[in-house]
């Protein structure tokens, strides 16, 4: 147990280190002058340039610069945005939870709908209901996410006028950000019309969640179905049947767990797709999340923001992936056989 935790923490730290190196080197990879990229100031004369280089330690070796960069990251001094002048840490602190919120609801939708459907299709594999579920999920999976989101906007917002077009909540409601999650914040706030605010936030959430969730649901249905069919054909299921166990016993005691174990690592891979899809959909729905924020930063050539934003997003993805994989490693007894962690 401790060895597993230690191994995964080492993996986590090393991956983060590689990411930090890449994020650090971005300053030198961006087009243009390094100093101008980092500070946003084009020095007027050589004295100012020398002073700025000294302040940002550009006169020292790369290793020392990297060391100071790491120090800044850990102490929470992530720099300032060129465009707004607000510390980047605050900006990311607002944008990141919005993205996580959207991704969480989509993942929940994918799990709640996808896994039962996948089990149903897998248990009745090659029947007509299985074919219907499978065809639907393959079709949904093939939709490009931006096209699907646009389609939803076109139908539900513009034609039917059932859902708002963009944003997180109507401007009428002034919700104090505490946790960063809009629904939780509304519940925590002391607005007098909480119910209305909640309803409004839900209506803003629905379309982007469906746009992202549909594709994740489709892939989870397919993964689950395959895994259930594989588990069903194992010799131990035949052995359990010949011991005369009932269908329910076989399903709940043997198929359920064995089909779920291979799904978990595949879901960890889904997280990457999920976050990417979320960032695309955010832009379409003007959702104030990290994806939208990064796109704006790109437009404005806000290099410090890009640097730290990229690090924040990739750290989030890595953290989730490694956590899911570690969880899977802890609950799957047969994986003791494999000595090394695999990502």
């Amino acid at each position: 147990m401790i060895r597993i935790l230690a191994r995964y923490s080492i993996l986590f730290v090393l991956t983060l280190l590689v990411l930090a190196v890449m994020s650090f080197s971005l300053a030198y990879l961006f087009p243009g002058d390094v100093l101008a990229n980092l500070t946003g100031i084009v020095p007027a004369n050589d004295e100012q340039r020398a002073a700025l280089e000294k302040q940002f330690r550009l006169d020292r070796s790369y290793l020392v610069q990297f060391f100071y960069y790491m120090g800044d990251l850990f102490s929470g001094e992530w720099g300032y945005s060129f465009t707004s002048g607000i510390p980047l840490r605050e900006e990311i602190g607002i944008a990141m939870p919005a993205t996580i919120e959207l991704a969480t609801y989509s993942m929940l939708m994918a799990l709640v709908i996808g896994i039962p459907l996948g089990y149903y299709a897998g248990m009745r594999c090659y029947s007509s209901s299985d074919y219907i579920i499978n065809t639907t999920s393959i079709t949904t999976y093939s939709f490009p996410v931006f096209w699907f989101a646009l389609l939803l906007i076109l139908v539900f917002s513009l034609q039917l006028d059932k859902a708002p077009l963009s944003g997180r909540i109507s401007l009428l409601f002034d919700v104090e950000p505490v946790s960063g999650f809009i629904l939780i914040d509304i519940l925590l706030s002391d607005l007098e019309n909480k119910r209305l605010a909640f309803k409004d936030a839900m209506s803003h959430l629905t379309l982007p969640t469906i746009a992202i969730g549909a594709i994740s649901t489709a892939s989870i249905v397919r993964i689950t179905r395959r895994s259930v069919i594989d588990a069903k054909n194992q010799p131990y299921i035949a052995a359990a049947m010949s011991r005369g166990l009932s269908g329910g016993q076989i399903f709940f005691r043997h198929i359920l767990r064995n089909a779920l174990l291979p799904i978990l690592p595949l879901m960890a891979i889904q997280i990457t797709t999920l976050i990417t899809n979320t960032m695309i959909v955010e832009t379409l729905f003007s959702w104030p999340g990290i994806g939208n924020w990064l796109i704006q930063a790109i437009y404005q050539r806000d290099y410090p923001a890009l640097r730290v934003g990229m690090l924040a997003v990739s750290s989030l993805v890595i953290m989730l992936t490694i956590t899911v994989d570690m969880f899977n490693r802890l609950i799957d007894p047969s994986r003791e056989k494999y000595e090394h962690a695999a990502i």
Binding site: Y236, G244, R253
Partner: protein, 331 residues
């Protein structure tokens, strides 16, 4: 009357090259209280017969039989529910590969406890019943010769050696107190001492509880020492069956004779360092089965008539299917 009575069991697999008869008119019966050995090379269809009896065959294969009855009830005509009841209470199976036949995500104790039929468990409340279940599990595990029950009952299948896994399979089969035990190569991969232990256990159960055993194996020495009757199988056809001592003394079918000759322990006249007698060739694959008697191309006594499948002939309780049997001149 035999408990398990199978007559002309035929199993057809459908492939792109047409249908293949993996089992061709197999006859097998197990009487109450006897140990019947089912012998054959690998690939002769022994495990298919076992799977056919317990109904674990894939549904896309066609299984037909003139008679396949269990205590007079037709096994093929039963509903899935009735079949399940029979498998739960009366027939128990030990499969060939314990590592694959045990659920990798559940402990051995859980799997053993779920095999206990609920009428054996005493107690009104669930904790009393769980306790009693555990007690039954421990005593069964001791019975098959596993000493460290604490360690093994909470172990997962990948953590145990193969022979313990095989013993667990036997324990799971015995815990429902069946009347027929089908043991598919139960001593595979065991050391001689453990093997003897298991065979002794089988013999004892047969004598004290009059448990009938269908013993599937190619370990002729073990079979000869414990079984009463024997059925020899070659490439999906029954070749010869009868009482063990008759077959051992005077095999009628050339294949049975070759099989017995190839086991050094049955030959006292074998000179040291000499080759064991064998018949040329190897068992045909399912795609290239010969017509008629499937031993035909390899048989030393084959003649033109052998392209037709020989009918089953019987002398008392010794039946064989061969056109030109051995020892017939004397009879």
């Amino acid at each position: 009357m035999p408990m398990l009575d199978i007559k002309n069991l035929t199993l057809e697999m459908h492939s792109s090259e047409g249908t293949i008869k993996a089992l061709d008119k197999v006859n097998l019966s197990v009487s109450s209280g006897e140990i019947r050995a089912l012998v054959g090379e690998s690939g002769s269809g022994k495990s298919l017969i076992v799977a056919a009896i317990c109904g674990a065959l894939p549904t896309e294969w066609t299984l037909t039989a003139d008679r396949m009855s269990w205590n007079g009830d037709n096994l093929l005509g039963m509903s899935a529910q009735q079949r399940r009841e029979v498998m739960r209470r009366e027939i128990a199976v030990v499969f060939q590969n314990p590592q694959a036949s045990l659920d990798p995500s559940a402990t051995l104790g859980e799997q053993l406890e779920e095999s206990i039929p609920s009428e054996f468990v005493q107690g009104n409340w669930f904790w009393q019943r769980a306790q009693h279940r555990k007690k039954i599990a421990i005593s069964t595990v001791h019975k098959v010769g596993i000493k460290h029950h604490k360690h093994y009952l909470s172990a997962y299948p990948h953590q145990i050696p193969a022979d313990i896994g095989q013993k667990f399979m036997i324990a799971m089969a015995l815990v429902s107190q069946p009347t027929l035990l089908i043991a598919d190569d139960p001593t595979r991969g065991m050391e001689p001492t453990t093997k003897t232990q298991i065979l002794k256990l089988f013999t004892r159960l047969n004598q004290t509880r009059s448990l009938s055993i269908l013993f599937v194996s190619h370990d002729l020495l073990a079979i000869a020492s414990m079984s009463h009757t024997m059925t020899v199988l070659y490439a999906g056809q029954t070749v010869e069956s009868g009482r063990m001592k008759h077959i051992k003394k005077r095999p009628l079918h050339p294949y049975t004779k070759a099989l017995l000759d190839s086991a050094p322990s049955f030959r006292k006249d074998l000179p040291p360092k000499s080759h064991l007698p064998t018949i040329a060739g190897s068992i045909p694959t399912l795609q290239h089965l010969p017509i008629g008697c499937r031993l035909g191309p390899r048989c030393p006594r084959a003649q033109r008539a052998c392209v037709q499948t020989p009918v089953v002939r019987k002398i008392h309780d010794h039946s064989y299917s061969c056109h030109f049997p051995l020892h017939m001149e004397k009879l």
